[in-house]
Symmetry: C2
Subunit: 350 residues, 2 copies
């Protein structure tokens, strides 16, 4: 069992890799090699030193021969240009998201046509495939049966890839799976160029003692998932067998991962409750039309029946999301915030 | 006003060109040049001799510089690999349909970015974007709000192009319009590699005194449009202004052209009624699973509200479709069939 993760040193890629290296199996089959492919490699990460791990550094399309040097059984394709990048640089998005994915699909197809394994291809798509505008409003509750009408180049590019993957799967070139990721919050680390980045910043930065700007009106409702739930969703969809019944993938290719629906105001109130006024007061509300236009066009309420069948559940509350973050990233939290947070309700210890 | 038609010597391209050369205007504006681009050029066609017409022969992607040598105001993109071709040769379909369309969009974008006109790009998509399979049935009535789930590479490729055109339009690179063509029947000329080709063959060939095979069970319902209605639909969508109210394009980019819903049995009964037993008996029913799978997955009943607003109507009956064909292609009909047909209800003369 050889597994390739693109974006393997990205935020989600690292966590997916960590999970696989914990169990060292995929669908109960021992993992022989775990290939982490990325443009930027963190050579000193503990993962990089694992004897199961190979590292392939560089642009995906330049390194296809290395990725497919040995048969690829599972390809978890997380590498992507993000939403605001794709809006700012159309060519970058088309190249990284559409051409890059197509090159991977073609390599997997070539492997299959040459008599090798039919790769299980797991693609990370996005809630951004859904967009609404006044002439084409989304229904109040969105499911995989809802017509995606993206209002961003990023969402368009993800949708195009979804459809190619569905066709490659129908033709038997790959065994494709698509997880539509909700906005992940709270993401650790540095701000990125995603339009939704503030949904992590407004929690992460104040907890680190830093100021943060909230570029939308607080009554905006958003659909969020914690990193833990997101990684769980990717791996559940990756490992599931097709067919009917609990735990199986049935129906169309995309699966909307479960979402917790909250308002930005509720997020900020949770921060205040958990970490206190001094931390919460570090957030300034300063609506930005461009960000509001993108994020506000994404649906906030989902019917997650397809994910339910796989046993996937949304985070129970935003407080649980914040407490997960405090537990997983205590090094990125200033002591004051932790001191305020901890007594209120101790985070469970795994 | 310079208009480019790709597939300009194809069946629909010729008819769109003929209509434009009749009025010699587009949206009331005089046409200066009408460029007919095609891999195969019929140099002795009357159209080719028209002083307004320029001919560009060759593969689209090799001739972009010629197509855009002068500013393109309107690009009617009809060139395409057809459904059965794309199923038989995946690479051909991806190259001709996806890469070809993308190259045109990029050329139009470059023109706009360089300060030239924002081209009105009219793309011929297809009912084949819709497909159903047991796990994902289509609703009984399909509209532009229905989630397309193509069950063919051709349908996938058309859908991918639709989404790129929507995004290029949203970004202001082009003014894109998408007409989803129903199965066109009765197509004149030779059989082509479209899976739906038999829906013309079973009428056209017997009327020419030739045998024909019907590869589906006669109770299959199909959504058809005559060539006249199809060309009318393409030009109406091309010429319409955006906005609300009658005659205007509103809402999303694609417009499903109106369809007449008939069973294959009704088509054959109409042929028998119009042209007599000797002609109708030339059709042999011999179901072919592959063709049934593709054509049977296309929806047969539509809610055409978006086309209604543009004043577009379906053919009133299949008899009207057959009589249009007899009138437009009397040279391709054997005298016996005509003699039987004419007295029943004379075709109107324009």
């Amino acid at each position: 069992m050889r597994i390739v993760i693109t974006g393997g040193f990205g935020f989600l890629g690292r966590q997916v890799a960590d999970r696989l290296l914990e169990t060292r199996t995929f669908r109960g089959v021992p993992i022989d090699r775990l290939v982490l492919a990325d443009r930027f490699v963190q050579a000193d990460a503990p993962t990089a030193a694992d004897p199961l791990v190979d590292i392939v550094q560089g642009d995906l399309t330049d390194r296809l021969d290395d990725l497919f040097a040995e048969p690829v059984d599972v390809l978890i394709h997380l590498a992507s240009a993000v939403s605001a990048e794709c809006e700012a640089d159309f060519d970058l998005g088309m190249s990284a998201n559409v051409d890059g994915t197509r090159a991977l699909l073609e390599a997997a197809r070539a492997q299959s046509v040459a008599g090798g394994p039919t790769a299980r291809v797991v693609f990370s798509s996005s809630v951004a495939v859904y967009g609404s505008d006044p002439a084409l409003p989304l229904p109040p509750v969105v499911s995989e049966s809802t017509l995606p009408t993206p209002r961003s180049s990023y969402g368009t590019q993800k949708l195009v890839c979804e459809q190619l993957i569905a066709d490659y799967t129908r033709r038997g070139f790959v065994d494709g799976r698509v997880t539509r990721l909700m906005t992940v919050s709270v993401r650790p680390g540095k701000p990125n160029a995603a339009a939704s980045g503030f949904l992590s910043c407004i929690i992460r930065e104040p907890l680190a003692g830093l100021p943060a700007t909230c570029p939308v009106r607080p009554d905006l409702r958003v659909a969020l998932a914690s990193p833990r739930r997101t990684v769980e969703g990717i791996l559940r969809v990756a490992e599931a067998e097709r067919g009917e019944g609990p735990g199986r993938l049935n129906g169309g290719v995309p699966v909307n991962l479960p979402a917790l629906t909250v308002t930005v105001a509720e997020m900020l109130a949770t921060l205040r409750r958990v970490a206190g006024d001094a931390v919460a007061d570090l957030v300034t509300i300063a609506p930005d039309r461009d960000v509001e236009a993108i994020v506000g066009s994404w649906p906030a309420v989902f019917d997650n029946a397809r994910a339910d069948v796989l046993g996937l559940e949304a985070d129970p509350s935003f407080e649980s999301v914040v407490r997960d973050y405090l537990e997983d990233h205590s090094d990125a939290v200033v002591a004051d915030a932790l001191l305020t947070a901890r007594p209120a309700r101790p985070a469970p210890i795994d």
